[in-house]
Amino acid sequence: MAQEPAKANGRRSKEVVIEVRGVVAGFGEHVVLDRVDLDVYRGEILGFVGGSGAGKSVLMRTIIGLLCKRAGSIKVFGTDMEAASDLERQAIERRWGILFQQGALFSSLTVLENLQFPVREYLDLPQDLLDEMAVAKLEMVGLDASVCDKFPAELSGGMTKRVALARALALDPEIVFLDEPTSGLDPIGAGEFDTLIATLQRTLGLTVFMVTHDLDSLHTVCDRIAVLADGKIIAAGTMDTMLASTHPWLRAYFHGKRSREGSQYDKTARV
């Protein structure tokens, strides 16, 4: 039910919002991404997986412009990021939000100021509206006004992630990049976070690019999964496609001990 509108939407238009073509990136001699192609469609939740050190974060950071690529092109909303002028680039940056792995909240600002920071920079809004919006965003991510005056150092891991998500959503972005959103959360917290992402995706019509290792997240919220290995996208498609694939890495990843069937086998074995 949760994914129906997004899927229906996707089938209708299939508008590509991020188009990655032949991207090469690396550090020194070491090539991490070797001619990577990837499409992200509007309104979908894309789960992006790959082994540790395979370059998932590198690709994400290349798309958002934190790392330079050596070759290839990246188009976001149809604009080539390399050819874009500073103004065009800024306009696009305003349309995406990023949740960093450690939250990356500004440690010298309170939660409220963290949430208002991007809004204050880009928009000229009265203070009372800023305050109300910040509280509203906090409530949307499942927190309340009591955390407003806290500093990031005083928050728990799960709260930090939620506040960071609220900040990523502060400017009503069309795309959100999530870098391992559920890492470091307990299974209950991770499950709640997944539901939260799905709900927000539905209510705000977001496109979500989610780097994750959490098989439960991949099962429950992701519309499509892309797999990075050996510097290339080796597969992209729905969970069913992944499960049906014969590629050894995919089999190990999706049918391994920690996968759903894996743990079910364990249970039956014990019984």
Binding site: L123, M140, A145, A153
Partner: protein, 376 residues
Amino acid sequence: MSVTLLEGTAQGEQLKLAGAGAWIAENARSLEAQIEDETRRTGKLKRVDIDMGRVERLDTFGAWLLERLVRVYSSRGCDTKVIGLKDDYRALMDELHGVKLTKPPAHHDNQMADAVAMIGENIFAVGHSISSMINMVGAIAVTSLRVLTHPRSFRFTSLVHQLDNVAWRAVPIILLITFLIGCIIAQQGLFHFRKFGADVYVVDMVGILVLRELGVLIVCIMVAGRSGSAYTAELGSMKMREEIDALRTMGFDPVEVLVLPRVAALIIGVPILTFLGSMAALYGGGLVCWLYGGIDPDIFLSRLKESISLQTFEVGMIKAPFMAMIIGVVACVEGLAVKGSAESLGLQTTASVVESIFLVIVLDGLFAIFFASIGM
């Protein structure tokens, strides 16, 4: 001129509001103003219909303003309805409908009380940092006694590494700065003493000033800025990343592993740097006396021999290890006092440099009194 985003038509006790255009963040300011104009309309109202059929785009900002509008009329007892809202936006409105606006507690603005509280906090902080410094001195003393009985537990590798950073790599900059200071003192002395024909006393002044006071002071100020700050930042970031907690849980004493080698490196390094610095300053002074004052190197040296004794040199050198100790203790105390945030790291590093330079100068004054009273 801003576009019309909200238009109202009143019919008796019924108000029809029609939204239009894009209700998005960029238009939020003018939309809010237009909403305010509408809600200021007085008169008895029973029903309010808000027609959102012509609104092309709606984001959380627009949706929140709509929700606020609904709440305003509902609180006045009107029967408020939103009609024509696109299905895509239903979920968003439902989400915002649940938002309970508990205002963040207002800040009390009693500036007098704040100022008094600030003074109190500062005094308390000074007391706290004095007590933690005494604590640290005690911890270092206990640890060094323990290390003396078990010399194997002393971290020689770490000591050598710190000596390399603190002393060896500091040599060029210390030589350069003390050389320049020596030159400047000699030049100023010559310039003013010449008026009285007392040129040659410049040698006395340079010798005594450099060996007793300036050599050690300049070196300590440099070391506090160069190495003290580095110690604080290193220990502070280790504290932030829980590395110090990790050490503790493995059964290591952070004072033994981290603090002792660092302080020991300073206690060894600063006297060496002081010696080198004093020599460089004397060399600079001699060079200026020769080139600028016309005092030949031979005369400079013989005059220097007459004016200073080994005691003059000793007075400067005795102070060096004590000052090194102060710099090391302050740097480590401040480093271990860092809390989670980047801002706190910056604050503690500043505090470390300022406090250690201040304490070095205070200690220098105490030594001056001490040496005067014992006749050195």
